[in-house]
């Protein structure tokens, strides 16, 4: 992905030199032209066309913000409610992510999700131990994490 972005900027610079006009707007024009060129030549790269990754990153950012707001609402509900009748506890979650930065991102996302907080990552990086505010629906939470977060992170690193 980084290689394609570098190549795209290089094409934009070459476009600027061809035009002999060194302004931001000619850089942008060259960048858009480079996007078309790279899209046309996408079968020569090992990885897919990098605009898909950019879209995946933006999606992940939106998920981050949405989860932050939802988690705040759920924590507020627990704090404000007159009786403390939640059932906290620690559950484990197997993850299929492999690289370190992916696991860090997943842990950050889980910490910002409604009612969950990562306590430890096992030594072999395969299991996350998560403290949950309310354990009634652990299976549901596991399912949600797998469905939404892991998928979104995998989409970014593909």
């Amino acid at each position: 992905m980084a290689f394609q972005i570098l190549l795209n900027s290089l094409i934009a610079f070459i476009w600027m030199f061809l035009q002999n006009s060194y302004t931001a707007s000619s850089f942008v024009v060259g960048y858009v032209l480079g996007l078309f060129i790279i899209f046309a030549l996408r079968r020569f790269f090992h990885r897919r066309f990098y605009l898909y990754n950019v879209i995946a990153v933006i999606k992940l950012l939106l998920i981050f913000i949405k989860e932050l707001i939802l988690s705040n609402l759920s924590v507020l509900k627990v704090i404000i409610s007159p009786k403390l009748n939640m059932k906290p506890g620690i559950f484990s979650l197997e993850t299929t992510l492999e690289k370190d930065w992916e696991i860090t991102l997943l842990a950050n996302l889980i910490t910002l999700t409604p009612g969950t907080l990562v306590i430890d990552v096992s030594d072999d990086n395969k299991t996350l131990f998560i403290h949950a505010m309310d354990l009634d629906d652990v299976e549901q939470a596991r399912q949600d994490i797998r469905e939404s977060f892991e998928k979104a992170i995998k989409e970014v690193s593909r």
Binding site: L76, I79, L84, P88, G89, T111, I119, F129, M133
Partner: protein, 115 residues
């Protein structure tokens, strides 16, 4: 336009202040380290972020001055607050701080025993 932005800014700053207040109530009220950490690391994060967003919008829309340092501050808080929450609760767990008595299960203990 000015009126709308003033309402928005006022709402953001009030929301941030109320969230911070509620998270501090949560720190007083909740029973153990881990549940308190939930309140501290989440509600306080969104509270601080909305106050900073309100400040940014105030100086941008009313005073006509764009301050990117506030935006960077938002990004830093957003990235570091969950890590801080994770590290505090991890340190608490590994120094054998007990869970609340009503806690239901503890799978990390089984995993540690198995080692």
């Amino acid at each position: 336009m000015i009126v709308i932005s003033k309402i928005l800014i006022g709402y953001l700053i009030l929301q941030g202040a109320i969230l911070s207040l509620i998270s501090s109530i949560g720190i007083l009220r909740l029973p153990d380290v881990y549940t308190r950490n939930h309140a501290a690391s989440k509600a306080a994060t969104l509270g601080v972020i909305s106050i900073m967003l309100g400040v940014f919008l105030y100086f941008w829309l009313i005073e006509g001055h764009v301050n990117t340092q506030v935006l960077l501050g938002i990004v830093f808080v957003f990235l570091t607050a969950p890590v801080a929450g994770h590290l505090i609760s991890r340190a608490a767990y590994h120094t054998n701080t007990p869970l609340w008595k009503n806690s239901v299960q503890d799978e990390l203990k089984q995993a540690k025993k198995g080692k």
